[in-house]
């Protein structure tokens, strides 16, 4: 029986909680309906029909609500209820968060799984952000970085344009005097030398700069002053070097004994120590001195345009004047640079901003800037993005899979008037809250584990720096919201779409057809497969390198470094008497330790090569084999002809068919090729073998004594020589290295790279297993009746578990098939990018990967055996 008052009350109830209706708006609307009903009834209509017509003509809820919302804020201001609205909004937010927290507590297992997966991904994302922002902002911390440029010389070579980081020494002063757009200029020179303090005696690098350096660059001091830049008997130490030399002692005022380059010994006082360099500092120094102190390294003609300095920095008054200054340099100085040496002809000058140096330095010769490959930036960003995606998919899968537990909750919420929008908001709030918790846990994980691990592997020193950088807060907050919304949107829409009537009638079935869930899981497996395959490939590649021939003897080779001829003489003499020594040679350079870049002319063609200055017998001490000719032995020395040994790459570069007896021009001297060495890895497997030559050097240039030892003689021999050295020089300790220590350093770096991938793969696999666990649990719940029947018919729990989760195993195999070719192509390119010499790829790593993931999946699924074991068929049938 229709009752108008009841109908009006029910109609009014749906508008009751909308914030768009203010004050007595609903009274006005209700009266409108009453007036229209009265009018229609007076025209002969039935009251119920009149009511329905009136409501229909007024408009549906969402239409009316939308129209009223358009003026709601205006009315709020007119009624001076702004604070009340804000308070209501905050109360509503607090309520959402409270309910969200309650729901997370109620579903502890799935919440924990989601939080764990997200936390790890957030921690990895944070470390990736630190790495990428550091790499992309090298040297950006200098206050004047936008205006600081490095001057490059440009030459035209046979194979194209070349850029050079070094510049003529007089150029800097000329720029200051003649180019108004240049605010200041700083020249930088560098050298190496020996530094002694107390018992410590080490090899160090020195940089010499003009006094304007402290104004141009931002290197704040920990202690002291920059007076060293105008006093040639003073030095400034970097923070790490001050610790290295003096430990906990105050370094200021201490005197260091040095011998720099070819110069005479000198005593220098420490008058300044810098603060620790930030991770983004590419331009750094160990020991800093004034430019005038460069004479300590030997006589230098600084007014000669044929004398080069390592770098000339220009700070412009306005960065936009870059092109102008370049053209002024070209106009004024090309001829002066080219005049002294007809073999060295520049075609122009270019300026490169300080912040771009590391990105461009691969194209620049003789540059002081380090080189950054964008490959790690790209790879890490990709990994981080994929892990976040994995976590989002994990959340979506788990939320959808466990949605059946919340059917009644959703039904009740909708029945008492909750709109779909409110439900979506509720679920999104839960997700954002979960992401916020994950953020806190992720920050802790990054601080405690992931960042220290990354710093150790990459040999860097990143810090999270929450108090120093506002950008990182923006990144973290954006990460939480984007991840929360991205992962929560689909589940929120899916779950909020359930219909209350169907739920309460028990007809809502969360079907087994979940194409999107299966799609997400397939993608998760693909990611896990590709990352694990990467880790396995890199590990196998590491093993390949361990077995690869370096081209010379690494084991049982010991070499000593001497800092002066007297020391060298003592070491050499001792070595001749030492036990276990099979062969000895002296050299200026040592393979795997140092070498020189040289330019040669061969038949008018210029090639770059790596030169090792050696004495006779060095190649045979190292066990380097020849493919043609003879070693640099006594015969070669007696013949009076300047002779060299070259490697096979050198021969190929020179284009010789018959290399022995060919001539090369080096530093205006002609050398004959005495023999051809088989190619050997003088560096590591990252770099391709370049043309190499061994050249006999004067005895006075020798610094290294290289010994071939009997097996097991290393400790005794090194101890003997060290004793002999200390007997003559009481304050000296022998500085020696085993040749294969260099191999070990390379293997460790290589394993570091594969460790990163194994770590990422472990996380990806773990997150995927979390999804599998949730989905397989849900599978068991959904198919309880079937399980009950199968148990009654005698099925074993393990066979039932496999059957119930057969689809998961199919998805895994599909993912492996889809991702194998992608992984193969990607890894092939990755190996080529990292290593010049690497193992050929085959199917084995991918088979191993599939078996590992399959085994892990089966193990995860087997946890359901327990729940199937516990399921009693009688109880199941009764409930179903």
């Amino acid at each position: 029986m229709f009752n108008l008052e009841t109908a009006l009350s029910t109609w009014r109830h749906q508008y009751k909680y909308s914030r768009s209706f203010k004050g007595r708006d609903l009274d006005e609307l209700e009266q409108h309906l009453r007036d229209q009903v009265s009018f229609l009834v007076s025209g002969g209509a039935e009251e119920e029909e009149a009511f329905r017509t009136a409501v229909e003509e007024l408009g549906a809820y969402h239409e009316t609500e939308t129209d009223y919302r358009s003026v709601a804020w205006m009315k709020t201001r007119d009624r001076k209820e702004v604070m009340r609205e804000i308070s209501f909004f905050l109360t509503m937010m607090a309520n959402y968060l409270r309910v969200a927290f309650r729901n997370l507590k109620k579903n502890k297992v799935s919440s924990a799984i989601n939080i764990l997966g997200l936390s790890v991904s957030i921690a990895v994302a944070l470390v990736t952000y630190l790495f990428v922002s550091t790499v992309m902002n090298q040297d950006a911390f200098h206050e004047n970085s936008d205006e600081i440029f490095l001057v490059h010389q440009v030459t035209q070579e046979e194979d194209g344009v070349m850029w050079w980081g070094n510049t003529p020494m007089p150029l800097g002063k000329e720029i200051v005097q003649s180019i108004p757009a240049a605010e200041r200029v700083v020249r930088l020179a560098q050298s190496t030398g020996n530094v002694s303090y107390g018992d410590a005696d080490i090899r160090a690098s020195f940089r010499f700069v003009d006094p304007e350096f402290m104004d141009m660059f931002t290197f704040p001091l920990e202690a002291g002053t920059y007076s060293a830049l105008t006093n040639p008997d003073q030095v400034i130490l970097s923070y790490s070097n001050a610790e290295r030399f003096f430990g906990m002692e105050d370094p200021l005022g201490k005197v260091l004994r040095v011998r720099i380059g070819d110069g005479d010994p000198a005593e220098l006082t420490v008058t300044g120590v810098t603060k620790e360099f930030p991770a983004a500092a590419d331009i750094q120094f160990s020991i800093l001195m004034g430019y005038d102190a460069l004479r300590l390294a030997g006589e230098i003609d600084s007014e000669n345009w044929a004398t080069f300095t390592a770098a000339t920095f220009v700070q412009l008054r306005n960065a936009a004047d870059e092109a102008l200054v370049e053209s002024q340099l070209n106009e004024a100085y090309i001829d002066r640079v080219n005049a002294p040496d007809l073999d060295w002809q520049v075609t122009g000058f270019e300026l490169d901003n300080l912040q771009n140096l590391t990105h461009n330095s691969q194209n620049v010769s003789r540059t002081i800037s380090g080189s950054i490959s964008m490959a790690p930036v790209f790879v890490l960003s990709l990994i981080s993005g994929l892990l976040l995606l994995l976590s989002c998919f994990n959340y979506m899968n788990i939320t959808i899979a466990t949605a059946s537990r919340r059917l009644k909750e959703i039904g009740v919420r909708k029945a008492v008037g909750g709109s779909r929008k409110q439900l979506v908001f509720q679920f999104l709030a839960e997700n954002v809250e979960l992401c916020a918790m994950s953020l806190v846990l992720g920050l802790w994980m990054a601080w405690q584990f992931i960042l220290p691990g990354f710093n150790a592997i990459a040999d860097v020193n990143f810090e999270i720096g929450l108090l120093e950088s506002w950008e990182i807060w923006v990144f973290l907050i954006a990460l939480v919201f984007v991840t929360g919304l991205a992962s929560g949107a689909y589940p929120a829409l899916y779950v909020s779409g359930f219909r209350p009537t169907i739920i309460f009638q028990g007809r809502e079935r969360l079907g087994r057809r979940r194409p999107l869930t299966h799609g997400f899981l397939t993608f998760q497996f693909m990611l896990a497969f590709m990352t694990l395959a990467s880790g396995i490939v890199l590990t196998l590649n590491g093993r390949y390198h361990t077995n690869r021939d370096w081209g010379y003897e690494g084991e049982h080779i010991l070499f000593f470094e001497a800092f002066n001829p007297a020391e060298l003489n003592v070491i050499h003499t001792s070595a001749l008497q030492a036990p276990g020594v099979l062969d000895i040679s002296l050299s200026r350079d040592a393979v795997g330790y140092n070498d020189q870049d040289v330019d040669l002319i061969i038949d008018g063609k210029e090639i770059e090569a790596i030169e090792f200055g050696v004495s006779k017998g060095y190649a045979s001490v190292l066990g380097i084999e020849l493919s043609a000719g003879t070693l640099l032995d006594d015969e070669t020395v007696r013949s009076g002809t300047e002779s060299i040994l070259v490697n096979e790459t050198f021969v190929a570069e020179a284009g010789w068919e018959d290399p022995v007896g060919q001539f090369v021009n080096l530093d205006s001297t002609s050398y004959a090729v005495a023999g051809v060495m088989k190619d050997f890895h003088y560096n590591d497997f990252f770099s391709i073998i370049q043309p190499v030559l061994f050249k006999l050097t004067p005895e006075t240039d020798n610094r290294f004594v290289t010994l071939r030892l009997q097996e097991g003689a290393g400790v005794a021999t090194s101890g003997f020589i060290d004793e002999q050295l200390t007997a003559v020089f009481p304050d000296k300790q022998a500085r020696f290295f085993f040749q294969d220590a260099g191999f070990q350093a390379f293997y460790e770096e290589s394993m570091g790279i594969s460790s990163i991938f194994i770590f990422v793969a472990t996380i990806a696999l773990m997150i995927s297993c979390l999804s599998i666990y949730a989905l397989s649990s849900q599978n068991v719940v959904n198919r309880l009746k079937e399980i009950g029947v199968r148990k009654v018919l005698g099925g074993s729990s393990s066979s039932i578990a496999r059957l119930v989760n057969r689809k998961l195993l199919i998805i895994l195999t599909l993912a492996a098939v889809l991702s194998s070719p992608l992984a193969f192509i990607g890894l092939d390119a990755l190996l080529d990018d990292i290593y010049a010499y690497r193992m050929p790829l085959n199917a084995l790593p991918f088979i191993i990967t599939y078996l590992v993931i399959l085994g892990t999946t089966l193990l995860t699924i087997s946890t359901q055996v327990r729940s199937i074991n516990r399921a009693r068929p009688a109880d199941i049938m009764r409930s179903e």
Partner: protein, 112 residues
């Protein structure tokens, strides 16, 4: 039937014109509009009240409550002096437009 956008443009001057005849409540405005339009102009009841509230905010109308025989009180609206000025302005605009249509299309299809 005219388009919704044109109907929307006529609502404000129509409501002000009806209120010029004397204070009215919501349903009276709807009923009068139906009589005038004869179903030719789509009228949205749900848009009427927000329009009245907006005009009240702008000072063109003012409202007061009077008790009714059944249910809640009724809200009446009457035009203010500001509203009459606004109506006069709208009228002159429509008349200007009307003159243009008359020139273009001739007197047969011009309004009024």
């Amino acid at each position: 039937m005219v388009s919704k956008s044109l109907a929307s443009a006529t609502m404000k001057p129509l409501v002000l014109s009806m209120l010029k005849d004397g204070p009215k409540y919501g349903f009276q405005l709807v009923y009068r509009a139906r009589q005038l339009y004869e179903g030719q102009i789509p009228w949205s009841n749900s848009k009427l009240y927000p329009l009245l509230h907006k005009m009240e905010h702008d000072g063109w109308v003012e409202s007061y409550w009077k008790s009714s025989d059944s249910g809640p009180d009724r809200k009446y609206y009457r035009i203010t002096a500001e509203g009459e000025k606004a109506l006069a302005k709208v009228q002159s605009e429509w008349q200007m437009v009307n003159a243009i249509w008359r020139d273009l299309w001739g007197p047969e299809v011009a309004i009024g």
